[in-house]
Assembly symmetry: C2
Homo-oligomer: 555 residues x 2
């Protein structure tokens, strides 16, 4: 047996839906050459990551081995696969390979963040292969909810791995290539070691539906509408945007694209030839001069994002356009778990305006971009790998996907972030556990998820904040009384006097009584003052606030 | 026409699901005598109400008129109907009427909050009526997902109003009274002015399903399980808890009730005779000595609440019990929108333990407690009121319910919180708009939603916090350099030096250059220092923090 090995190591995406980052390596242990598949982001929320702008995988492990990283391959242009490429390029420095549409989006991102656009290299689909280090990698066209998605055929001296990327088995995807079972069978014929496979929809029991089913339903709905029509969907779902625009055109409506992401995606599709025909669009300014029953807006913000076009239109005027009684608003999208409140807020605001809302509850106006359970089984069958390694899922998805593979007599394994697998043998073997985690883009800096920064923010949000200022003279005697400022706390509590005054009185009393030993020692004094603030606040208002103590000594 | 009028005024619950509070009044304008129907809470979240304990309707309007409030009627013991009674009793002082089970729960709450238990008066069902002021009020038994729910028959000199309460049309509710169409028809026969009606499930197209349908499915599932079985549901759904316990008993399992709410609800049901037979339960300590395939836990926390039994069991050991590979966890509940992330977190934690999770996606193990669209139409038909006034819903529900009534030739109106309707005529007339809002229970104090307290907390969570301390001597000259403390901010920014040091340098530079006029004026100085902190932080870390400036003057 050779001392060289083929490894698989998820740094993100295995144990969550989001921030995908999968390392493959080949070589002698700890001397492997690496490639990285995808480098995406996840999105923050108030619950766990208030104030954070983006969540990225912690790539410390890979950064320390950047000299052995030969390339980054991006399967498609969804944010959870491409979103961290520009933010991490400085740390990794490896060339980024992607198909034309994805590369177009990647270059826009590189440019936006001051990174070299020419680090992005356009790759052609299979049978072309890119040789990097010990690997040969080919992009295998696959249908998904964005143009030019691809699986990867990763050849190493130890054998072939197929990395599915995000996919569905769509014979008629409207835009981009249909799933081609013959091509996948041909690629798999020489034998596939491992199929590393999308798990998102493993709990969906029925075969997935094609993108083409949606268009006639949208057309019917739009042609029956009498006021203005607004439709929202994921901007990257170019096929859907096209179906929506064509439905508008067929109903004699002028189409307006609202939202930066929407225009950017259509632009990239046109530039790369992914989209050859698209109805003529007009500007919001032009739309204002057209009767509202001749206008259709296609807008961003299907997940209820506060700053996107949907939310702005729901709140009031946006770019001179305003919704009214009798207009129709279509969510041609599903609500991602966690975004329900934002979406419902918009629906209620639209209801207040008298706008009729059609959402995805009927199942008519949206189809998923991911393979359902029977589709997963079908791909397992076509590729017929030695082992199935589920990825792109929370733990429950990975586990269920593994069980599904095993129920068909295949070898599967639940491999979560940080679990390095050795794929060299006939079955996957856990080689090592790597420390992984999350890095936050916070404003313009990066912070670690465990740095305590966000924990402090959450505590201030839950408990409020008190600043205590104490000035001591050369003899460590208090100069005047201690001073308190509160933020995020009730002004008065149970005793009906101002909380600040009660705190100051208690602190002063303590200071007057305290001994030299306490007053000379910054740490002791600070701790004592903090404890008093927390105790008194607990009695007064039933909360224990976060406390900043500032001790100034006149020396 | 009489100068007296009958009014309806929602203070909570009309425009949201939660914190129900509906005022009815009769008398000359501004001299009406009032009754209040329900006084509930809503639940806070990190998004909009971090650190808040409970959300209650702002009852300022009613408090100012408390001398004319004759009674509070509570339709049932769900928190969104009963949760604020004890918290607001001190402000309102009116007697609280409820049926025995609801009264039992109300008294427990009064006691817990140091309020007089005897303010709660037990009422008997229709045909009994309570006379209060100009009103006669009767409790009309109705099926819902809690025992002894009731609609209210509210008779005034101007006519009869039927307030539906929360309801479903269940002929076989397992615990409590079945819906009795003959009784409702009889009550409606003399003519009903207005039906004020639950709107929760107006978007559900099919007739609602009976509680009795769930039991056989649960029994099948539990009898097929091999490890420990855990089931969670809403503690107040006593019928469901009973079905779960009986399924356990039938499968030869000893039943453990875990969670305070679960035990409290069963206790109240027993005390009031609502529940006469319930399988024998054992303690968690006893369960530890029984083989795990002979144990069934029925636990709180179906909505993913972090401190409830479900979350604790998902995280690790709880009360000496620990879940393992091969155990079964059943969500006999639906996830309320907004709670998805918490529930999914638990499911993934259970998945990591190898526990099999069955949720409500199959529709087999849960039925709703609210009337669906066809059921609403059926009740409209039975009561046949002059007008339908939708309540208990977000704006979208109220609007849809109104449209539904109108589509059947009825008069309906969307009346949101604060909209006072005069029901004296043949159609509802908007009499007045009252300022309404939300009051937060925050620790042990109440704060107004618009006080700015919670806004400041959210800002600290998003932006972090900086404390600036400056000491000036008798001549307004700085004594030493300004001092900064940060909380919830990255330690270093773009220039790689400590953020605090850069802030202090910039502040010091400003102080040295600033003129007497600025330094003498606390407000000006504070504003200038704040601006510098925000500007420098923006450059360094791309964030504008909240700032507390403390200026100490040695005088």
């Amino acid at each position: 047996m050779s001392s060289e090995r083929l490894i698989y190591l998820p740094l993100g995406g295995a144990g969550e839906i989001g921030m995908n980052a999968y390392v493959y390596g080949y070589g002698a242990p700890d001397k492997e050459r690496y490639i990285l598949v995808d480098l995406g982001v996840a999105f923050p929320d108030m619950d766990g990551t208030p104030g954070v702008d983006l969540i990225m995988p912690d790539i410390a492990w890979l950064r320390e081995r950047a000299d052995r990283l030969d390339a980054i391959f991006v399967t498609h242009a969804h944010e959870d696969h491409i979103g961290a490429v520009a933010h991490c390029y400085g740390d990794l420095g490896a060339p980024v390979y992607a198909r034309p549409f994805t590369a177009n989006i990647a270059r826009r991102k590189m440019e936006e963040h001051g990174q070299p656009e020419d680090a992005v290299i356009t790759a052609m689909p299979w049978p072309e292969q890119v040789s990097v280090g010990p690997f040969k990698v080919g992009f295998l066209p696959m249908s998904h909810s964005i143009p030019e998605s691809a699986g990867l055929v990763i050849d190493s001296p130890t054998g072939r791995v197929v990395h599915s990327g995000d996919f569905k088995l769509d014979p008629t995807p409207i835009v981009g290539e249909a799933f081609d079972p013959d091509l996948w069978a041909e690629v798999s014929k020489p034998g596939v070691k491992a199929l590393v496979c999308d798990s998102t929809n493993v709990f969906s029991q029925h075969p997935g539906r094609s993108e083409i089913e949606v268009a006639p339903e949208i057309t019917k709905l739009v042609s029956g509408a009498s006021g203005m029509v607004v439709a929202t969907t994921f901007a990257s779902n170019v096929a859907r945007v096209k179906s929506l625009a064509e439905a508008g055109e067929r109903a004699g409506r002028s189409v307006v694209l609202l939202g930066r992401a929407m225009r950017r995606m259509i632009e990239a599709s046109m530039e790369t030839g992914v989209l050859t025909d698209f109805p003529k669009v007009i500007s919001p300014e032009e739309a204002r001069d057209i009767p509202r029953d001749h206008v259709m807006l296609i807008v961003t913000g299907s997940q209820g994002e506060r700053r996107a076009a949907s939310a702005q239109l729901a709140r009031g005027k946006y770019r001179g356009l305003e919704l009214k009684q009798g207009d129709l608003f279509l969510f041609s999208s599903k609500t991602i778990p966690g975004n329900e409140k934002g979406v419902i807020r918009i629906i209620n605001q639209l209801s207040e305006k008298g706008v009729d809302v059609v959402d995805d509850s009927s199942g008519l106006y949206h189809v998923s971009g991911h393979a359902n359970r029977p589709d997963l089984e079908r791909l397992h069958g076509i590729v017929d790998p030695q082992m199935v390694i589920p990825m792109h899922g929370e733990h429950r998805h990975l586990r269920e996907h593994t069980k599904l593979a095993e129920s068909n007599g295949r070898t599967g394994i639940v491999a979560v972030n940080g679990m390095m697998l050795d794929l060299s043998g006939n079955a996957p073997k856990v080689a090592e556990y790597i420390e992984t985690g999350r890095t936050y883009l916070d404003g313009s800096t990066k912070i670690g998820a465990m740095d305590g920064v966000v924990r402090d923010r959450i505590r201030m949000a839950l408990n409020g904040h008190v600043t205590v200022t104490v000035i001591l003279d050369e003899e460590d005697e208090p100069l005047g009384e201690p001073w308190c400022d509160t933020m995020g706390l009730a002004e008065t509590g149970n005793s009906k006097a101002a909380l600040v005054e009660i705190l100051e009185a208690d602190l002063n009393q303590f200071l007057m009584r305290s001994g030299d030993k306490t007053r000379k020692d910054d740490d002791k004094l600070e701790e004592a003052l903090r404890r008093i603030v927390r105790q008194t606040s607990q009695v007064e208002i039933g909360k224990k606030p976060e406390v900043t103590v500032v001790i100034s000594r006149m020396r």
